[in-house]
């Protein structure tokens, strides 16, 4: 392999590839990036065996097509070069020479033949193409609610269901649940549901564009899902387990309903949470006629009291929450006014933006 490129042609792609390199792998090959040069394009691939990425970037010139794998230390190296012509040349022992002006580096690589690829050889079941912006919106609204550890494997991901033109997506850690539902122009013929690992979601959300015109195609396979974008192709394993029945925990009837200014509420919760101890961010929220009070106490540290005007006409109620769970959702709701709906101080409560039924957040209280 022999090519000529400029720093800015490949640096971004290399940095994206770096997200996908496995950390702490026992296989040295997985710490490398696969370089595959052909027809003035360089294809970069990285994988941790659960998720893989292939990025296409145009380079100045490919003088000799070929493949090799290069350790990730090439990234900080290229980053430090000035924006001049960089020559990358690999010998038959997979040792790569990187030359920029008068600087010359040799990096020992490994053969490309052994580089593992996530197989797509099973039959493709179906595809759906949607705007990248929509997928980014769905993910951003819910993914923080997914379980961060692997104690319950099926919750350590985001659940997607595609049925006709309807897409539903859910994330939960069993204490709170975020739900998104939307309709797309062109749907799928049958029904697909997948739990996509949180790790994949975290990487995907980083590369999705806000540009209205850019699209992404999701290719459904039995055990993997492929995300195809203009210059990038991501393949991820799915979590092959059952997702809990989320519909059943979304309350349909309520005893209390409040209408609250989002910004005021968010600021008050943020302030009150400074008084809670790091470990238990408990805030007590009291609803009385047209007012909401937030009370927080931290032993030996102090007390917080906030009061804001709201619209509330039901029975007075007092309920405790983890402030972090409330702050999480207030960050993603765009409406100026939110609705809080409760059954009692011990049941799941709902928080949503007023006039927006696509997104729901269900949160469990803390027992007094």
């Amino acid at each position: 392999m022999k090519l000529i490129t400029k720093k800015n042609e490949i640096l971004d792609s290399l940095q994206v590839a770096q997200f996908f390199i496995s950390t702490g792998s026992t296989l040295p090959l997985l710490s490398n990036i696969l370089f595959d040069a052909q027809d003035d394009f360089l294809f970069l691939s990285a994988t941790d065996m659960d998720i893989s990425v292939k990025i296409k970037c145009r380079v100045e010139k490919v003088e000799q097509a070929g493949k090799t794998t290069i350790p990730k230390k090439i990234i900080p190296l290229i980053k430090e070069f000035t924006d001049d012509i960089i020559k990358i040349e690999t010998d038959k022992n997979d040792n790569t020479k990187v030359v920029c002006k008068k600087a010359s580096y040799k990096i020992n690589g490994l053969p490309a033949e052994d580089f593992p690829v996530l197989q797509l050889d099973e039959k493709k079941l179906e595809s759906i193409t949607i705007p990248q912006k929509l997928l980014k919106e769905i993910i951003s609204k819910i993914y923080y609610a997914a379980l961060k550890d692997t104690t319950k494997r099926n919750l350590n991901g985001v659940y997607f269901k595609f049925e006709g033109k309807i897409i539903e997506a859910v994330a939960t850690d069993a204490h709170r649940l975020a739900y998104y539902k939307t309709e797309v122009k062109t749907g799928v013929k049958s029904k697909f549901d997948y739990i996509i690992p949180l790790k994949t979601i975290n990487e995907i959300v980083k590369v999705l564009s806000d540009d209205e015109t850019k699209e992404i195609t999701l290719n459904f396979y039995d055990k993997v899902i492929e995300f195809q974008m203009e210059n990038m192709d991501i393949v991820s394993r799915i979590i092959d387990e059952n997702y809990p029945n989320y519909n059943q925990v979304i309350p349909k009837e309520f005893n209390m309903e409040a209408s609250v200014n989002k910004e005021e509420f968010a600021a008050a919760i943020r302030r009150a949470s400074t008084i809670t101890s790091d470990k238990s961010k408990i805030v007590i929220i009291k609803f009385e006629k047209n007012k909401l009070m937030i009370i927080a106490q931290a032993q030996d540290e102090g007390e917080a009291f906030e009061e804001i005007d709201i619209k509330y006409d039901s029975e007075p109620v007092e309920v405790s929450y983890n402030a972090a769970y409330i702050m999480d959702v207030l960050k993603v709701i765009e409406s100026d006014t939110i609705e809080i709906k409760l059954i009692s101080s011990m049941n799941p409560g709902i928080i949503k933006g007023k006039g927006n039924d696509d997104f729901l957040y269900i949160v469990m209280p803390i027992r007094k």
Binding site: T26, D149, T150, A174, N245, A324, M364, R367
Partner: protein, 357 residues
């Protein structure tokens, strides 16, 4: 740091002595505390009478009973040992809070500064031994020195009911005659290597150069070099400062068979449980450590919400972590299991769960 005063207290045949104390019929008899041969149990402790037959801890109970047919096998009752251990620790606390327990029956004490204002560590060791006997009717052996390494060796020097003092002046002479296997950090594998290099005791260790030891033992080389000269600055770390608890073992032969690896890991998990139990600790992060034959070392960890103590639960998690290693494909020389992050997830107190099904 040679002006420190360290005491190592080691109870004599602890579990077996507790059993003999509580059951007069066992006194003067060879007593084995451990699992039954039917459970493929091992000897957790044995009385001095049993030791005469060559029985020692960690031996299979079946083997022990073959060596001494009249031995009495008693199932361990940890609540009793824990109670006695608690009483002993109360005595320690009368003198110092700088206590580093190694197990229920063994601890280091740093008495350089002590609550009783006694200058002589030997005097303190003597008082502790007497008080232990008064309160529990059990005997302890004590070692007194200026560092942990020598204090521990001293406590084992005269057993049972011994008290050995190694002063800085006597230290070098004392070390010269120590068999190499008794040096801290010299396990079976290292011992074999030492032998092959012609090092059988402290004197032979001392005549080797630092370069030589580093060449053969890597980072541990400097440690051995210091020990041979009576230099050990490692501090007594009290439980309050303890961040994790774990066990690891370097195996005399390199292991490839999954069955064997799993057996060893299960044993380590139960040892960790024993340690956690003795301190009343539970942890949320479980770590598996593997050193392969080529000395490449890896760790795999998982953090869970609910703190655990049970060896079976820890083992369950370890097995999952094991999937993510080259165990079974690449030979292994060392396995380790540790637990840290003590206490339940602090932010989950009272937090209700969604009724997900």
């Amino acid at each position: 740091m040679n002006d420190r005063k360290i005491i190592h207290i080691d109870m004599d045949a602890f579990y077996a002595s507790v059993e003999q104390r509580d059951n007069p019929e066992l006194r003067g008899k060879p007593v084995i505390v451990g699992g039954t041969p039917q459970q493929r149990g091992v000897v957790a402790a044995c009385s001095y009478e049993a030791r005469k037959f060559g029985i020692h801890s960690a031996m299979a109970s079946a083997t022990a009973l073959r060596l001494c047919q009249q031995a009495v096998l008693v199932t361990p009752d940890f609540s009793k040992y824990k109670k006695a251990s608690g009483q002993i620790h109360e005595i320690f606390h009368e003198y110092t809070n700088m206590i580093e327990p190694l197990s229920l029956d063994e601890a280091y004490l740093d008495v350089t500064e002590n609550n009783a204002g006694i200058k002589s560590a030997t005097q303190i060791a003597k008082e502790i031994k007497e008080k232990i006997y008064e309160k529990t009717r059990l005997t302890a052996s004590a070692g007194v020195s200026y560092c942990k390494f020598l204090a521990k060796i001293a406590s084992g020097y005269k057993k049972p009911d011994g008290l050995t003092v190694v002063t800085p002046e006597k230290a070098l002479r004392f070390i010269e005659n120590l068999p190499i296997g008794s040096f801290h950090g010299v396990g079976k594998v290292t011992e074999k290597k030492m032998f092959s290099l012609g090092i059988k005791n402290g004197l032979e260790l001392r005549i080797k150069s630092l370069d030589f030891l580093e060449e053969h033992f890597g980072k541990s080389g400097a440690w051995f070099y210091d020990l041979a000269r009576g230099v050990d600055d490692s501090p007594v770390i009290s439980i309050q400062d303890r961040k994790s608890m774990g066990r690891e073992e370097t195996y005399p032969e390199d292991i490839l068979e999954m069955d064997k690896i799993k057996n060893y890991l299960e044993q380590l998990c139960f040892d960790v449980e024993k340690d956690l139990r003795s301190e009343g600790l539970k942890g949320r992060t479980i770590t598996l450590k593997i050193k392969y034959l080529d000395f490449k070392q890896i760790t795999r960890s998982i953090t869970i919400e609910k703190a655990v103590q049970s060896g079976a639960t820890i083992y369950g998690r370890i097995l999952k972590l094991l999937d993510n290693t080259l165990a079974g494909k690449k030979k292994i020389r060392l396995l380790g299991v540790s637990v840290h992050n003590f206490g339940d997830a602090p932010d989950k107190k009272g937090q209700l769960d969604l009724p997900l099904k």
